[in-house]
């Protein structure tokens, strides 16, 4: 077992922070932070979908836009969509849509805007957590909340919720990143990506680690949502 650069235990996450209702103009909004990674999400809608050819008369659709703000990383990020942000927008949409049933809102769209204020690895998972709370805050009918966290593999050992320093770990087999999202309280996973190499028999341990992490995340999300009602 190698020591994590952050000094955390293998299944220890960074301290989390969550707040709901941060954007007064949105129908629903939330902030979620894993340590130094801060994501904000705003939900608008259900509202009329433009362009019109995308409208679906049988159901409403979900449209997610994820982006890093230009000051969120140490080297200024040129604002606007990139190959990376388009991919993350799409996987976030897929991660969130299984809990939504939008058939009650035909021809409409629910827009989810996710912005990263500060990036220190794990931005897509923080974004999904924030978006899930923001959707709930917007009063959208949902089966459950979505919790998301990444598991890293440093050389041969798993480490929950790796930060930026750990993502650049380069000894032995180096770093492998596995972001996952699941429906809270169930065994249904809605996102699983893999960047790097991992032996198949280790996946079981990865899922177990995520289950434990997601329980903690769910409590944070629940608390933040309940806090806004005085």
């Amino acid at each position: 077992m190698v020591a994590r650069p952050s000094g955390r235990k293998a299944n220890e996450m960074r301290s989390m922070k969550a707040k709901v209702g941060i954007i007064p103009n949105a129908d629903g909004s939330a902030m979620f932070a894993f340590g130094d990674t801060i994501a904000i999400a705003a939900v608008y809608g259900p509202r009329q979908l433009h362009p019109q050819h995308m409208q679906d008369p049988s159901t409403g659709i979900l449209r997610v836009n994820y982006d890093l703000l230009s000051f969120s990383v140490s080297e200024r990020k040129k604002p606007g969509p990139s190959r990376r942000s388009k991919e993350i927008s799409q996987v976030t949409e897929w991660a969130l849509s299984p809990v939504l049933d939008l058939r009650a809102f035909p021809n409409t769209v629910i827009d989810v805007q996710i912005y990263i204020l500060q990036a220190d690895a794990g931005t897509r998972t923080a974004g999904i957590n924030a978006a899930s709370m923001a959707l709930a805050h917007a009063g959208i009918p949902m089966k459950n909340l979505i919790c998301s966290v990444a598991v890293g593999k440093l050389d041969k050992d798993l480490a929950l919720d790796a930060d930026n320093a750990e993502e650049h770990y380069d000894e032995g087999e180096g770093h492998t990143d596995i972001p996952l999202a699941k429906i809270a309280g169930t065994d249904e996973f809605t996102l699983m990506q893999l960047d790097g190499k991992i032996p198949p028999e280790m996946i079981k341990d990865v899922l177990e680690m995520v289950n434990k992490g997601c329980e903690e995340i769910y409590e944070v999300q629940k608390k933040a949502l309940k806090e806004i009602v005085e």
Partner: protein, 237 residues
């Protein structure tokens, strides 16, 4: 047990939303367990449990479990009176912005008196504010009507927005809250179900007071007996 439930159900008819137990739930959270309960709006049954479908206040009224929304966009319903603003005048009606998904259309035939096509924009021009009733919701959008009491163009005063989910709170039980605010400020107030509020009084001070009172009420979600608290608020302000 059964008898007790039945009594509660009768109370629900009279008391509607107040006086029942309420607490905040998040989507997917178990509200109650057991076969005795029926899931209402915003709730569903999964095996033995009744589960919240959305974020809001869970309310147990007899056997019925429902979740009252606390936030979010306005979802139009048939029969709702809404306040809107004319965005376009077409050859056979008006296009109205009601702050909801889908556009709202007010056909010329639904105006309370006969109108000639060429005097349409004298009756309602672009930018005019009106209160109208939703008489149908079709796939393409909302159809409005002006036929009914208290509907029509709103002149003078000003409009502002509150969250649509707080509208029942502003109106109060059988209109008790809104009547109180009207009496205390002397203003004319119309509250649209879409969360737009129109206020018109004799002077700006009373209009602003009415707005402050409404925003105060919209802020308080969990407090019981708010009408009494408002009496106190008016004495202090």
């Amino acid at each position: 047990m059964m008898i007790e439930n039945e009594i509660n159900e009768e109370n629900e008819q009279i008391e509607s939303s107040e006086g029942n137990k309420r607490w905040v739930v998040v989507p997917g959270e178990i509200i109650v367990s057991g076969e005795d309960f029926l899931p209402g709006e915003g709730a569903r049954r999964e095996g033995d449990n009744v589960i919240a479908d959305r974020f809001g206040l869970a309310e147990v009224a007899g056997r019925m479990i429902k979740v009252i929304p606390l936030s979010g966009a306005y979802i139009p319903r048939r029969g709702n009176v809404v306040i809107g603003r004319v965005v376009d005048v077409t050859f056979n009606g008006w296009l109205v912005d009601t702050d909801s998904a889908g556009s709202a259309f007010l056909p010329i035939a639904e105006s309370p008196r006969f109108l000639n096509r060429n005097e349409m924009d004298q009756y309602l021009g672009i930018g005019d504010v009106l209160s109208a009733k939703i008489w149908s919701i079709k796939g393409r959008g909302i159809d409005l009507t002006l036929k009914g009491r208290g509907l029509g163009k709103l002149e003078g005063g000003f409009i502002f927005r509150i969250n649509a989910s707080r509208v029942p709170r502003i109106i109060g039980r059988e209109g008790s809250m809104i009547t109180l605010i009207k009496e205390k400020t002397g203003c004319n107030i119309t509250v649209g179900q879409n969360g737009w509020v129109w206020v018109k009084g004799d002077d700006l001070d009373s209009e602003i007071k009415a707005r402050k009172a409404i925003e105060f009420v919209a802020d308080k979600v969990l407090i019981e007996g708010l009408t009494d608290k408002m009496e106190v608020w008016f004495q202090e302000n």
